[in-house]
Amino acid sequence: MTRKSTPMGSVRGLGSAQAGTEHFIHQRVSAIALAVLVPWFIFSVIHATKAGYASALDWAAKPWNAILLILLFSAALYHMRLGLQTVIEDYIGKSGTRQALLILNTFAVFALMAAALLSVLKIWIGSGV
């Protein structure tokens, strides 16, 4: 990777971290996925929850729905991790607090990811379809 700062600048931490473009692109690619997945989820979940627990479970157990739920949670959690990272970097200037919040952001997103994906898989496997 080419560094646009001088070696002294790099040592002092001045100049950019050279990771902004990737962040920018990932934020937008996940946004494109969510622009499709979120309307599907809202429309789908309204019908799925019509008749309570049994109908909701049936819906989530269908392979296509399980696949789309996995994609939805993955894209949404990735997108919101990138988004909150930017918010933290913009507003929290104190380096210790900033690092702590950035780590908390990562942990929170991975915890949600594990819980959501395990739940979707459990429903699908439990259904035996």
Binding site: A31, F73, M80, K94
Partner: protein, 133 residues
């Protein structure tokens, strides 16, 4: 932000107080605010899918909570937030990709349309959910 222990020596971009108010600015602020709000909403959505996976007793508890008046308010606010972030996000994709919609008047107009759309779309979703169930 001076006085809040900013330890990063790199220069900051101009902050709120130097900007004249305009619609695209308001849309940008609300885009960020709705994004942060939905971050916390994601905990609730995840809790719902975990409840569904946990069995009928857990789902019944979730169902009682969701049907509470205050939870319905939160759900409606969530729908408004999602619809705004979606509409405004698509506008940003048009800015970033094909570079469409940069004309100041058009950009302001689209901001206003997005505000209106988010409330109307959330109302439509809510009405649809009531009719469908």
């Amino acid at each position: 932000m001076a006085g809040s222990g900013w330890t990063d020596p790199r220069p900051l971009s101009p902050h709120l107080q130097v900007w004249r108010f305009h619609m695209t600015m308001l849309a940008s602020i609300i885009h960020r605010a709705t994004g942060v709000a939905m971050y916390f909403g994601a905990f609730l959505i995840t809790a719902w899918i975990v409840a569904l996976a946990s069995g009928p007793e857990a789902y019944a508890i979730a169902d009682v909570i969701i049907n509470h008046f205050l939870a319905q308010l939160v759900l409606f606010a969530w729908a408004v937030a999602v619809m705004f972030h979606l509409a405004n996000g698509i506008r940003y994709l048009f800015w970033d990709g094909p570079k469409i919609g940069f004309d100041p008047n058009i950009a302001s107009l689209i901001s206003i349309v997005n505000f209106g759309f988010s409330v109307v779309a959330a109302g439509a979703i809510y009405a649809y959910a009531v009719i469908a169930t």
